[in-house]
């Protein structure tokens, strides 16, 4: 039981891939695999940021709004004939700044992350709709070229995604900062007692999440070629779902970027791609995706109940059986 819970994500992954592989021969091709990976890049990068947030037992509901806000402003700048690199730089700055606003309310004023980022979801989206006057904006050629560019034969979005995965993985596993995030997520009170600057740690994950949202927005725009009023919608849901599917716990302290986040994102993207290949009724997509997410969350809470039972305080020492 314990092992089943521990390896739930990879097991689920293999089951889903195998199911689609059996149902459709086209699914198990190199082309399709590459396609799924490239498609995964934007939501994957947002999910990397979300994984950092979830590790601290927080949540960031504002990532979709940050994406739209950054995209809307960049779109306006490009319409005003400003250069692409300035627009892209501005998007990243907006991402970090938005994360900073979240961080200030959460880490300094100690307001629940759920509330702060939910407010940002609506306010950020509202501001962006005002800026774009709720109209779709087409983006210049140059933006689209980012999406189709290849470096050494590897599609640029995939390259960026891969680099982000490696950097995030190294940060979480090999730096004091990363390890301290795990400690904070496990028990914030103990973390403070251990001399960690818990406010700073908490603030930084929202900055990271804001940055990742903006970078994800850039890659997504490069695939879409336009900013629509629905841009970034439901990304918070997808990112949380992918992170949890990859083994991150909503209760904090548990989760990895490699293989976790990668696995979760590719899993969600595979389901969508598989359903397209199978020509499934589009109305089925959300139901099937939701069912898979439900299973993942169920496993997460099952894992936690089990851990809680194992860690229950003992009054006496009985031999393990009895």
């Amino acid at each position: 039981m314990n092992a089943l819970l521990r390896y739930a994500s990879p097991i689920l992954f293999v089951v889903v891939i195998a199911t689609f592989g059996v149902l459709s021969p086209k699914f198990m091709t190199a082309d399709n695999a590459l396609n799924i990976l490239v498609q995964s890049a934007p939501v994957g990068i947002v999910t990397i940021g979300m994984t950092f947030v979830l590790l601290t037992a927080s949540v960031d509901l504002s990532v979709g709004a940050i994406m739209f806000l950054a995209a809307g402003i960049a779109g306006k700048m490009l319409q005003a004939d400003m250069s692409l690199s300035v627009a892209l730089g501005t998007m990243l700055v907006i991402g970090v700044a938005s994360g900073g606003i979240n961080a200030a309310f959460i880490a300094r004023l100690r307001i629940a992350p759920f509330v702060v980022t939910l407010a940002f979801l609506f306010i950020g989206r509202g501001v962006a709709l005002t800026i774009t006057q709720t109209r779709a904006m087409n983006l210049p050629e140059g933006f689209l070229r980012l999406g189709s560019a290849r470096i050494g034969g590897v599609p640029l979005p995939l390259l960026i995604f891969g680099m982000m995965l490696l950097i995030a993985h190294a940060t979480l596993t090999r730096t004091p900062f990363g390890r301290q995030l795990y400690a904070l997520g496990h028990n914030p009170v103990t973390a403070r007692k251990a001399g960690l600057n818990t406010s700073l740690l908490l603030a930084s994950v929202f900055l990271i999440s804001g940055f990742c949202a903006a970078l994800g927005a850039i890659l997504s725009l490069a695939q879409l070629g336009a900013v629509s009023p629905k841009f970034g919608e439901a990304y918070e849901f997808k990112a949380i779902a992918a992170a949890v599917l990859g083994g991150a716990s909503l209760f904090g302290g548990r989760g990895t970027v490699l293989p976790g986040t990668l696995l979760g994102v590719v899993l969600i993207q595979s389901v969508e791609a598989g359903l397209v290949i199978l020509n499934a009724d589009p109305y089925l997509y959300p139901i099937i995706t939701a069912a898979i997410i439900f299973i993942a969350v169920l496993i997460d809470s099952g894992r936690n109940t089990l851990l809680e039972r194992l860690n229950r305080r003992r009054i006496r020492n009985d031999s393990a059986q009895a």
Partner: protein
């Protein structure tokens, strides 16, 4: 041996809300020596150690640590000064490795790069573990360790912080015999290295085995101190119990009958309680005495269906309660439970007195076809029960319960259960944090209940109040019942002796 004491307390006093919990504590501990700190629950041990550990500030008094004045403003100050406090609840991160736990706030880096120097981290941890004779790989995740190993890691962490004084609070509670031996051999190495230890335990054999000096606290005062050899166990017990002021207890009018109301047979839950059997009779006030961590509250939670037990049987009247029945079903059977944590588990603090009182009996007032609340009968019930528990008349029904004193809050909880007309009432520390005047009224209410034919199971850490109120007292320790004293055999010394944990024999 160093002549300078490792720590010296002089005249430490501390009050909470006007209640003196420590008065003029003075004693000292030499470097490399180990001091056993013993006393009943509430004697002031935790408060004193929290002052030493920087969690609390003393009202008056001085501490001198290794020759220099010591005034910690927080746990970080204490850690910096070389004082480590190892709590019963361990402060480890189960999701990190041993090495990461030891050096979390100061992980070694590769030069000025942001990366952790994993080799240095590994080597330093291995050295520390080696020094204390622990053969565990530094990369092992803490969640893979047993309770005993975690305890040892916690001590090694104190060493990593270069602690010179380590406080241990009941470190052996959840350890097996072998783990306890390992712990003690580790502590002896620390003694040899000149580290001073303060060892808090109710397990007097362990105190005797490990400690050089002894300090006994009672009611916030040092009642005895000196070399451990000068005290035998009966002398320690009688110093712990002492003679405190006699309180008055209301007179009991009725008497206990022999009609069983609640019968418990061989209740067992691994690591929690073992083979618990007893009966609460109609009209009886049955006390359960025990020290902190004896398993009394855990037993109460099992009886009320909040936790489960693997074996055993619970009967109410002539019916067996099924294992799967939760609090709701057990309430219907006539069981009520006043928890030890009145603020979090007993009350909805923000809600009004009326809402709290009506909480468990709401269904009785939902009589209309639509199951809407009948405000009239509801209001009548609340007025009646307010009078019955003699709740202060100065507050209105609509006032939130958090504005009430501890005693009045407890009356609200009692009133809430009275409205459900229970057959058996389980009371867990009902007078904790309640002042003397309100206590008397609570005692009166408890006796009235028994006189009217209910059974009362009263858990308390105060021998005094149990001997004053109960018809019979059970003593629990280490999750077992260790004594059953009828009123004629009440003796403070015997009760406490039964409550002290015993060394396990493998």
């Amino acid at each position: 041996m160093n002549a300078m004491p490792a720590i010296e307390f002089s005249g430490i006093s501390k009050s909470f809300a006007g209640v003196r919990v420590l008065r003029g504590i003075s004693f000292k501990l030499g470097a490399g020596r180990t001091l056993g700190l013993v006393g009943e629950n509430g004697a002031g041990k935790s408060t004193l150690m929290n002052i030493l550990g920087g969690n609390l500030l003393p009202d008056t008094g001085l501490m001198v640590l290794g020759g220099t004045p010591y005034t910690p403003q927080g746990p970080t100050d204490a850690a910096r000064a070389g004082v480590a406090f190892i709590h019963q609840e361990l402060n480890l991160f189960a999701n990190l490795s041993i090495a990461e736990n030891l050096f979390l706030s100061a992980l070694p880096r590769l030069g000025s790069l942001p990366w952790i120097d994993r080799k240095a981290l590994h080597d330093r941890t291995a050295t520390l573990l080696g020094q204390v004779g622990l053969a565990i790989a530094p990369d092992t995740l803490v969640e893979q360790l047993s309770a005993g190993e975690r305890q040892l890691v916690e001590i090694v962490r104190a060493l990593a912080l270069e602690a010179r004084l380590i406080i241990l609070d009941e470190p052996t509670t959840s350890l097996s015999v072998r783990e306890t031996e390992t712990l003690f051999s580790l502590l002896r190495r620390l003694q040899a290295r000149g580290i001073a230890l303060i060892y808090i335990s109710h397990l007097l054999e362990h105190v005797r085995e490990l400690c050089h000096d002894l300090v006994i606290l009672r009611d916030g005062e040092v009642v005895a101190q000196g070399s451990i050899e000068t005290y035998d166990t009966p002398a320690i017990i009688s110093a712990m119990v002492g003679r405190s002021l006699t309180r008055l207890y209301p007179e009991r009018r009725g008497t206990s009958t022999t009609a069983p109301l609640l019968e418990v047979r061989s209740l067992t839950q691994v690591h929690i309680v073992r083979d618990i059997s007893f009966t609460v009779h109609r009209g009886e006030v049955l006390g359960i005495f025990g020290l902190m961590g004896a398993g009394r509250s855990e037993l109460a939670r099992i009886l009320f269906g909040l936790d489960t037990a693997q074996h055993g049987e619970v009967r109410m009247g002539d019916r067996v309660i099924n294992r799967g029945e939760g609090p709701r079903e057990r309430m219907v059977r006539g069981l009520a439970f006043l928890t030890e944590d009145r603020r979090h588990e007993g009350l909805c603090l923000e809600a009004s007195i009326a809402d709290n009182l009506a909480l468990v009996s709401l269904r009785q007032h939902a009589r209309t076809p639509l199951r809407l609340l009948d405000r009239n009968t509801w209001q009548r019930a609340i007025s009646t029960v307010r009078a019955a528990v003699r709740l202060t008349e100065k507050v209105s029904d609509a006032q939130s319960v958090q504005t009430l004193s501890g005693g009045n809050q407890q009356k609200v909880i009692l009133g809430k259960w009275l409205l459900a007309k229970p057959e058996v009432l389980i009371l867990d520390e009902p007078t904790r944090g309640v002042d003397v005047g309100a206590r008397f009224e609570l005692y009166q209410l408890i006796l009235d209940l028994a006189d009217r034919g209910a059974g009362v199971l009263m858990i308390s850490s105060e021998i005094e109040e149990l001997t004053g109120l109960c018809d019979r007292i059970l003593v629990m320790s280490q999750g077992e019942i260790r004594g059953n004293f009828p009123r004629a055999e009440f003796s403070r010394e015997h009760l406490l002796a039964a409550a002290l944990p015993r060394e396990a024999h493998a």
